[in-house]
């Protein structure tokens, strides 16, 4: 590796950090605001083995979101891979993913007129990153789904 590719690496790291953390702050602001706005509709996990409450109508709602890892996070995580321990930089990424997916599901349910979303489940998947030769930036997909009732 020569000096110029080191500068490119440094530039990517700084860009990744600057833009990544700006977008993250903005996303969190938006998440908190929308969570506050939709607080009146409960989302609960019961329903799989319990009887559902009586309702006139029920429908499945799905919210999905895909979030990419930035260069800074990936570099931090790669270093973490060498020494072990909690990858704290990925915690915010997953937290944003879960909350965004839940919100998208919930907002759709509210528009439909739901007064509860039951039996809510969350799943995650990684896309874009190849296992083995993992040189590309990975992304995560978070899927939240539940049964809206009214």
């Amino acid at each position: 590796m020569d000096v110029s590719s080191f500068y490119i690496f440094l530039l990517l790291l700084i860009l990744g950090y600057a833009i990544g953390s700006y977008l993250e702050r903005r996303h969190y602001k938006s998440i908190q605001q929308r969570e506050h706005e939709t607080l009146h509709v409960p989302i609960i996990t019961i329903g799989a083995k319990q009887a559902m409450p009586n309702a006139e109508e029920a429908q499945l709602f799905v919210g999905t979101v895909v979030i990419s890892v930035d260069y800074f996070k990936r570099f931090s995580a790669a270093l973490r891979n060498l020494v072990g321990g909690r990858i704290t930089v990925y915690e915010t990424l997953l937290d944003r993913g879960r909350r965004e997916a839940l919100l998208r599901m919930k907002i759709e349910a509210i528009e439909w007129g739901a007064d509860k979303v039951m039996n809510v489940r969350i799943e995650t998947a990684t896309i874009g990153g190849r296992s083995g030769n993992n040189n590309s930036l990975g992304s995560i997909e978070v899927i939240a789904y539940g049964t809206g009732i009214k």
Binding site: Y17, S21, S76, R80, N81
Partner: protein, 275 residues
């Protein structure tokens, strides 16, 4: 069961730690472990290469030979001249580790190098560039210095060990070894080779003083090369400078040593014969 509106608390799933302090902490840890690791590996490689017998080194040299010797000129009187010149350089009581073999390569690129097993390579462009035997002898003595100090075989040992470790790390973590690590190793190796170059230069100057009685007409060659490069003849000389330090610092260091040893640095040039 009544539903109560509550603000969702933050920081449950997120560790309160600034990403930059996290990165600084990680970098510090990796760099400390890395430096210790590189030093240990270097020492191990040196120990291993010290165990390599001259016969073994000769075998390694022969197997490397097939990879480098393209455009080699055989049966040329210049080879005899160069061989005699290089054998005239060591001190009387000095033992040459293995029989030297000189390889003359037809090439427009100015270069000279030595590989394990005592194989010294001289490009024909180098012979065209030198203006006196003193200049040529200095370049030859420098390469001989590398060989006598076991630099090629040590370098090989280091190269193999570092490659092995990089591969193991790469395989174990499923990510490429972070760029910073490869940069670190390169800086480390660069520093290592700088030490080698200084050692080879000092070896060479001592032999030149011994052979010609003075150190004049030796370093003009490097100045000319650098001028050549500045004039845009980059391709021709860049290969030599990719493995050798810049002329200015080299000359300064040698002049300092000559002053310390009270070596004469002026004298008549001996002309190159048979070329």
């Amino acid at each position: 069961m009544k539903f109560i509106h509550k603000k969702i608390p933050e920081d449950i799933n997120i560790t309160k730690r600034h990403p930059l302090s996290n990165l600084a902490h990680l970098l510090g840890m990796v760099i400390i472990i890395g430096v210790i690791g590189f030093v240990l590996l270097g020492v191990t490689a040196d120990l291993i290469s010290r165990w390599i017998s001259p016969e073994m080194e000769a075998k390694i040299g022969n197997s490397l030979l097939t990879m480098v010797s393209d455009n080699e000129i055989k049966d040329d009187k210049r080879i005899k001249y160069l061989t005699e010149l290089i054998y005239s350089l060591p001190k009387k009581d000095e033992e040459i580790r293995l029989p030297l073999k000189l390889h003359l390569i037809e090439s427009d690129v100015v270069n000279a190098f030595v590989i394990a097993g005592g194989h010294i390579f001289i490009h024909t462009a180098l012979l065209k560039t030198v203006e006196s035997e003193n200049e040529l002898a200095f370049v030859l003595a420098h390469e001989l210095g590398h060989f006598q100090e076991r630099h090629p075989i040590n370098g090989l040992g280091r190269g193999i060990i570092f490659m092995l470790v990089a591969n193991i790390l790469n395989f174990g973590t499923h990510v490429n070894v972070p760029d910073i690590l490869s940069l670190g190793s390169e800086l480390y190796l660069m520093n290592y080779s700088r030490k080698q170059e200084t050692a080879a230069d000092l070896y060479a100057l001592e032999r030149i003083i011994n052979r010609y009685g003075h150190g004049g007409h030796t370093m003009q060659f490097f100045k000319r090369l650098e001028k050549d490069e500045a004039e845009g003849n980059l391709v021709k000389v860049s290969e030599y400078f990719s493995t050798h330090p810049r002329s200015k610092e080299r000359i300064e260091r040698l002049m300092l040593e000559a002053e310390k040893q009270t070596w004469k640095m002026q004298g008549d040039a001996t002309s190159v014969s048979n070329i």
